[in-house]
Amino acid sequence: MSASMAAPDTAGPVTPPAGTPRRAKGITGTRPWVAALFLLPALVLLGALVVYPIGYSIVRSLYDAGGSGFVGVRNYGTVFSDSGTLTAVRNNAIWVVVAPSITTALGLIFAVLTERVRWGTAFKLVVFMPMAISMLAAGIIFRLVYEQDPNQGVANAVISSVHDTFSAGSAYPGARPRPGADLAPTAGGSYTTRSTVRPGTAALLPLVGIPQAELPSSAQQAGRPRGGGITGTVWLDFTPGGGGRAGVIDPGEKGLKGVTVQAVKVGRVVASAKTAADGTFTLPATAQGAQLRLPASNFAARYGGVDWLGPTLVTPSIIGAYVWMWAGFAMVLIAAGLAGVPRELLEAARVDGANEWQVFRKITVPLLAPVLAVVVVTLMINVLKIFDLVYIIAPGATQNNAMVLALKLYLTSFGGGNDQGVGSAISVLLLLLVLPVMIFNIRRIRREGRR
């Protein structure tokens, strides 16, 4: 080449002739205005829908409720001194830690298990189904699920039926002695006779306050105790159709079956009996001279289930609804990652002496780590912005206990607060919370891309 430098006409074709004006080109060989033209639609959309709102929110957060008076950072002061916002921050923290981890763990379990069963795909479909439901609909579903009344709320229906299976409910909730009878209320909701029992004299223990409809259909006519010994009758002292006398067993009045009667001497229970179908009971001779007590267990109110949407449980309950929705999402992503794990690795580990749990712990989970990170981070971003489920599921009484930032933002700005200055300040706070997760995610994606 150097030899031919003297003769310019023999220069290689790749060398452009000196002095020829050339249009400036970028490194990709594209003219800048063409590049700008192609970038324009995306830039306009992003600018109008992302950059401008963020900028405007920051500016707006420095103005008062009306939007005309500049207040500096006072709105931020309001945000941080408001206990409601602090509750929201605390709840958001709970959400970010608990919801993604439970959802991912559940998704991992589902993914690993469905891989091994014959009807795995059908199961996956069912678990994934809630993703097809809108947050609003899911919220309404779970509002019903968490309903306090076991007849309406599935959660409490399950809990109370399990509860009733293992501990028998009281026989006659709400029953009380007939006023004027010998029974007086004593400690803990029990009723005790004033007089003591003697053999040969039947004790009459009349109760009222039980609707006829709630008597068991097998209830019999109340009977007079037969035979000697210490006996008595517990019955519903109410004659259907009227005409009954107080404290007397009239025809048509039903005996109360299964009521526990205790004989108490100086505070100690010496004997106890349950009433028969006609309401009669018999105590052993040791009960002579004792007072009779109807313990509170006879009258305890029916087990009401768990107060799901009460102040303490409302956030965990809503997280439960969220997990129900998103476990399928986690499962599908993890199952896709699982399909990419070479079978030989698992086989090699088994041959190396690992049992199934060790294979899962030491091989499957580490190999799935990138996928698990994607799922957790995606869910974290999603959870920080949670709004609809909380707004719909939490009843008005406990909405403040369930408060999260996005909901606080909405309520402050539009739903009653009408202070868009403070609302904007909350939105900036929310942005600052999401930002680190976003940055982590972007860096991770870059790292993956480089590999």
Partner: protein
């Protein structure tokens, strides 16, 4: 160290009628190197996986030593396996990969270290112990996979085509290394390959499988000299044995213009089955070029078979002539080995005679060996 016994072990994959491995019956002695070889789909890998416990055994039994392992999970069999793609754990370093089995077994850390370092020294991996598998070359990964197996000191090594992902030169080199290592450790080894050269060079004994059926188990020498049937004859040896169907004549079989002497009983046995022909097998190196010297059947023609040369492969020390010959009215492809210094030209006609005592005769109908 232990013996391994396949006792009529059978595997039928769900949804198929034909057994993938059909009544496999092999006894492998303590410290022996057995190679399972066969074309793809012959059931050799399935047999190995049955021994590893990665595949169910539908019938029969498998024993390691005196222990019946037929239905034991892999972890309880005390075996180590080298996979075709090595199956190294990508998230662990070389040292962790090699020590994984010991860690699972609860061996203490210092002992794991010494054993891993020992194995690394044998395999020349010491400087790579801290690396992840993705930072290793193919040959190094292969050695790590070997290391993972030998660190455990198992009763049996199982190797599933461990060399097929290496380039040709490295494969030859590693082949001898593995064989040498096995002799040194004296561990019973079952090795699966589709490459008959590997099988012949490495194994104490070779087992040939076809369609799930065991064809022959023998030493490489015997396998080469006395193949039990047509399939083994054609499979073992490279280039393959020439197999030509020829008519039976008095005192032997007619091969072109010469007579190949064959045992009388064998001929009788074939004739009894109603065969008019038998299949004669001659290895390429067992043809002599006879240009007029040998005794001919017909006086006016030269002895032997006339082979028209199509292609000549010169390998330096010797050469292979690929040609066609007309035998029994049919065009047959014939391969003949010739000396490296007397290579014929393309289009030339060679007259070749099979060397006496080096021919193999098989029944055409059953494929069984007739000559001894």
């Amino acid at each position: 160290m232990a013996t391994v016994t396949f006792d009529k072990a059978t595997r039928i994959y769900p949804g198929t009628d034909r057994a993938a491995v059909d009544k496999l019956d092999i006894e492998i002695a303590d410290g022996e190197f057995l190679v399972l070889v066969g074309p793809s789909g012959c059931g050799k890998s399935t047999s190995l996986r049955m021994l590893a416990g990665l595949e169910d055994v539908d019938d029969g039994a498998i024993r390691i030593g005196d222990r019946d392992v037929t239905h034991l999970p892999p972890k309880d069999r005390d075996i180590a396996m080298v996979f075709q793609n090595y199956a190294l754990y990508p998230h662990m370093t070389v040292a962790d990969n090699m020590g994984f089995a010991l860690k699972i077994a609860g061996v203490n850390k210092t002992e794991i270290r010494t054993r891993v370092e020992e194995a690394a020294k044998i395999l020349d991996l010491t400087e790579y112990l801290g690396r992840k598998p993705k930072a290793l070359s193919g040959g190094q990964r292969q050695r790590v996979a070997m290391g993972r197996a030998i660190v455990r000191e198992p009763q049996v090594f199982l190797m599933d085509e461990p060399l097929s992902n290496l380039d040709a030169k490295l494969r030859v080199q590693t082949r001898t290394q593995i064989a040498g290592l096995q002799r040194r450790l004296g561990t019973t080894t079952v090795y699966v390959t589709h490459d008959q050269v590997e099988a012949m060079t490495m194994g104490d004994r070779v087992a040939v499988l076809k369609d799930g059926l065991l064809q022959q188990v023998d030493s490489p020498r015997n396998m080469y000299d006395r193949p039990a049937n047509l399939f083994v004859a054609g499979f073992i040896g490279s280039p393959a044995m020439n197999l030509v169907e020829v008519p039976i004549t008095d005192g032997g079989v007619k091969f072109g213009n010469s007579i190949v002497p064959v045992n009388r009983e064998a001929i009788a046995a074939a004739a009894e089955k109603g065969d008019r022909t038998v299949t004669v097998g001659v290895r390429p190196e067992h043809f002599d070029i006879a240009n007029g010297e040998a005794k001919a059947l017909a006086k006016d023609e030269p002895a032997g078979v006339a082979v028209t040369v199509n292609v000549v492969e010169e390998l330096g020390a010797d050469g292979y002539v690929y040609g066609t010959a007309e035998i029994g009215g049919e065009q047959k492809d014939i391969v003949v080995r010739v000396g490296g210094r007397q290579v014929p030209m393309k289009g030339e006609v060679l007259h070749v005679v099979p060397r006496a005592g080096e021919t193999h005769v098989f029944s055409t109908s059953s494929g069984e060996r007739l000559s001894d």
